[in-house]
């Protein structure tokens, strides 16, 4: 009995540092940020009046609400395109590549993942610039007459994002396909289903929960990212993280930045609630 109590005390002692750390540097800062979103900037001071004026300002200023819409549109487009591109690649690696080369194929597919985030976006500006690689190659081939104006547009942001998330989703979807027991597919094939029908009626539905998890991860990471839209997207259509960072520049308005962050957080939470049905399916 006392041995068990000693064991429990040891366990508490081991867990405590991480708990204290997470509270001190994650929970408390978040609470402070939430509190600050209710305060106000007046001149260069932050005044601790408690009201919703920052949120009111958010919903009444078109450029702020517009940033939220831009964020949502870009994020949804990126999520859909990335899943559509990554699924076939993951399927090819899992089904067509010989077993012993699969790990290598996967490692190659995610190798550029390890370039730093900032550098990766910069590399895309090199590719997409008006006199960059893509335009010069296409012009040289005679595929286009005029250089494409992709750099500093929403398209460039989406391309940069899709590049990153295709790698991430290939990994997660591949892991999912691998867990699939082959028996169902064999049974369907024995009963006369062609490869496309097997895929449509067996493989796809069974991997859907995993795909949803990956898609949700994409959504969360994409909507919170500042670097890719800042480097690739130009200044015409700002997204929410860019607007948040703008509040920190000259004449810093920390309460407004905090309020916008809470809005971002709320969007992610809503998305989670929306996906929860599918996200939970995985456990069942």
């Amino acid at each position: 009995m006392s041995a068990e109590r000693a064991e429990r005390r040891r366990a508490w002692a081991a867990v405590a540092p991480a708990l204290v750390w997470t509270c001190a540097f994650f929970v408390v800062p978040f609470a402070i940020m939430a509190a600050m979103s209710l305060w106000q900037r007046q001149g260069r001071e932050v005044v601790r009046v408690w009201d919703l004026s920052n949120y009111h300002a958010f919903f009444s200023k078109p450029h702020l609400v517009g940033a939220l819409w831009n964020s949502l549109e870009i994020t949804l487009a990126v999520t859909a395109i990335s899943v559509a591109l990554a699924y076939p690649l993951a399927w090819i690696i899992a089904e067509l590549v010989p077993r012993r080369f699969q790990r290598l194929a996967l490692m190659l597919a995610v190798l550029p993942f390890w370039t730093s985030y900032v550098v990766r976006s910069y590399a895309w500006t090199l590719v997409l610039a008006k006199n960059g690689v893509l335009n010069q190659v296409l012009l040289g081939m005679g595929a286009i007459a005029e250089p494409l104006e992709i750099s500093a547009t929403r398209t460039a942001t989406v391309i940069g994002f899709v590049h990153f998330f295709v790698m991430l989703l290939t990994l997660t979807i591949y892991a999912n396909l691998l867990q699939l027991p082959p028996n169902y597919r064999r049974a369907a094939a024995d009963l006369g289903a062609g490869p496309l029908r097997v895929f449509w009626h067996i493989t796809l539905p069974l991997t859907l929960p995993g795909v949803m998890v990956g898609a949700f991860l994409t959504f969360v990471l994409c909507i919170g990212d500042y670097i890719t839209p800042q480097i690739l997207g130009g200044n015409s259509e700002l997204v929410l993280p860019q607007v948040i960072m703008l509040q920190l520049g000259r004449g810093a308005d920390l309460p407004m930045a905090a309020a916008l962050s809470i809005v971002l957080m709320a969007v992610v939470t809503l998305a989670w609630l929306g996906c929860a049905r599918w996200l939970r399916l995985e456990r069942a």
């Binding site: 002692a13 900032v118 295709v166 670097i227 960072m245 971002l264």
Partner: protein
């Protein structure tokens, strides 16, 4: 149909691999550019931009800062994550699920918000931005990761070995340090390597929580203000090389431990 499918599949895979490698290939290729712009035509190879990176004292200082922050913050994250995983896997504690949820909660929040929350809090409590605050931020994002990795590899079979060590008179720190940690070394090393690469790459938290001494991604960020420049290519290629080296070493270490 059956003959067409593989052809289409391989074509598709090839195209997508091309898309995935395109920016990295362009980045590395034009880091060897001889001219002043990293765009075609390529007139190299030349190593002059690498020697410029090597001679850039700010970049080199940032590289050192990044390494230090990555190592120390990952050390803290692994220690916290490993201890918590051990405690939650071994003792049947009240509220285990809630504690698990709390420790992994930072995984679900974007780095921007974590960085902003810390920045505001440090600001209010009068703690100035420095490499220490950056390290704290990175340990916050990496602790849940280390916890999850260690927790997943804690098995029940190890409990008996720990009990045996205790029965033979080992003190608690000896059990942890000489028995449990060595048994879990692959997971601990994997967690550490992953943390190092995440911290090494991380921009937004480092940007928000540093001022005079900065990490490499922040320094590269300020290089971007000069527009397209082969020097940025060279710096980016060096960062890429180091990350890949860390990943490969981790792969090899883990694979060898498993074998």
């Amino acid at each position: 149909m059956n003959r067409l499918l593989p052809v289409a599949a391989w074509g598709y895979a090839l195209a997508l691999y091309g898309f995935i490698f395109l920016p990295v290939a362009v980045l590395v290729l034009f880091s060897f550019q001889d001219g002043r712009l990293p765009i075609p035509p390529f007139d190299g190879p030349s190593l002059k931009w690498y020697s410029q990176v090597w001679g850039d004292r700010k970049l080199m200082a940032a590289l050192g800062n990044s390494l230090a922050v990555a190592m120390l913050s990952s050390g803290v994250a692994v220690a916290l994550g490993f201890l918590a995983a051990w405690g939650l896997a071994r003792g049947r504690l009240w509220g285990t699920r809630a504690m698990q949820g709390l420790i992994t909660a930072p995984l679900t929040v974007s780095y921007l918000l974590i960085g902003l929350g810390l920045m505001i809090s440090f600001n209010l409590s009068g703690i100035g931005p420095s490499l220490v605050t950056v390290g704290i931020g990175h340990a916050v994002i990496n602790t849940p990761l280390c916890f999850a990795i260690c927790f997943a590899s804690m098995g029940d079979h190890q409990v008996n070995i720990e009990r045996a060590a205790r029965d033979l008179g080992a003190r608690e720190w000896q059990v942890l340090g000489l028995v449990t940690a060595p048994m879990l070394m692959p997971a601990i090393l994997a967690a550490f390597a992953l943390s190092v690469t995440f911290s090494w790459d991380e921009f937004i938290i480092a940007f928000l929580l540093s001022r005079f001494d900065v990490t490499l991604p922040v320094e590269i960020w300020s290089l971007l203000r000069s527009g397209l420049n082969p020097k940025t290519n060279a710096a980016g290629s060096v960062v890429f090389l180091i990350s890949v080296a860390v990943v490969l070493v981790a792969e090899i270490v883990v694979a060898r431990r498993r074998a």
